[in-house]
Symmetry: D3
Subunit: 69 residues, 6 copies
């Protein structure tokens, strides 16, 4: 599937924390960068998200802000 | 400023394309990853976004989707 | 690719309007429903979005609001 | 109330799952399509969201991604 | 229409800038606060957005970040 | 830190409700306006969000919808 979201980065699941309805997942995308994702618990289970597994991070360009120090 | 968005990654501006109201900016965050951001033209000018300049990428955890191949 | 976004609906491109950096696309998803999407022009060209072509609409659950009349 | 979000689709509540702070609601919008929404529990209660009840789904155009198989 | 978005604030249109596909609107919501909104041009025209006119600002709770100085 | 999000409004924390993974925070921004934010619990703790404390509300222009009565 090709998607209009401009950012698809590959990585590895580093950690997953489960709430009642939401799960917070940390993904190591290399270069010293770890990205935190908050998805529904249903999605985490459906995708089989588990520590050590390969996963892609997908982000729309309009959801990426820029900031200067 | 500390912000509730869970993802703040440092990088360098690789490219900026300007529309009438929006600008599309590509940021090299290292590890072979380039992130595309779409912000208002007003913001790009205010932040002095220019090729080669250091910049931070800021993304809310709830805006980060996960996908498996 | 399986994605964490909870909504993937199939449809047909009904109309596409191009700006300098953004494109507005209307997708017929059946049942009398037409969904409007605003994506980057780069994405529209990369996906080959054109009137009459099949396309999937992808929406995160947290981006779907509810309202009563 | 007329709203700038480009997508307002009418449907019926099919299912609601309640967490401590968030609720996940599935809405049948016809044409074989069911849309999943994740809203605050406060909103679900205020709107009186309940199975079988009519409800509108509201989505901004910039939150609608497109994908090809 | 009652909506699940937790923030509906009333104000007055202070300024509108039109692009080819998008419009940037500044709304005075009182208390010294002016909020900037970026919507599709189609929506701005449909809502009759014009300087001096009353307008409501609608924002989802999950789109509101917090920051400390 | 200067950020591309067009809306940074200062206020005071009025209330905070904690879930397992998410926290809902109400911020008084003056002029009779209270804004509700939904952030991760991790962020609320890291920022030291507590009733009576000063806090900034940060919102992207593209996340601000407009509506007429």
């Amino acid at each position: 599937m090709a998607i209009s979201a401009r950012n698809t980065l590959s990585g590895t699941v580093k950690e997953i924390k489960r709430g009642m309805v939401t799960a917070t997942v940390k993904v190591d995308i290399g270069g010293g960068n770890v990205i935190t994702s908050s998805i529904t618990l249903e999605a985490a289970e459906e995708l089989g998200v588990a520590e050590g597994k390969p996963i892609n991070v997908v982000i729309k360009a309009s959801d990426v802000m820029l900031a200067t120090d």
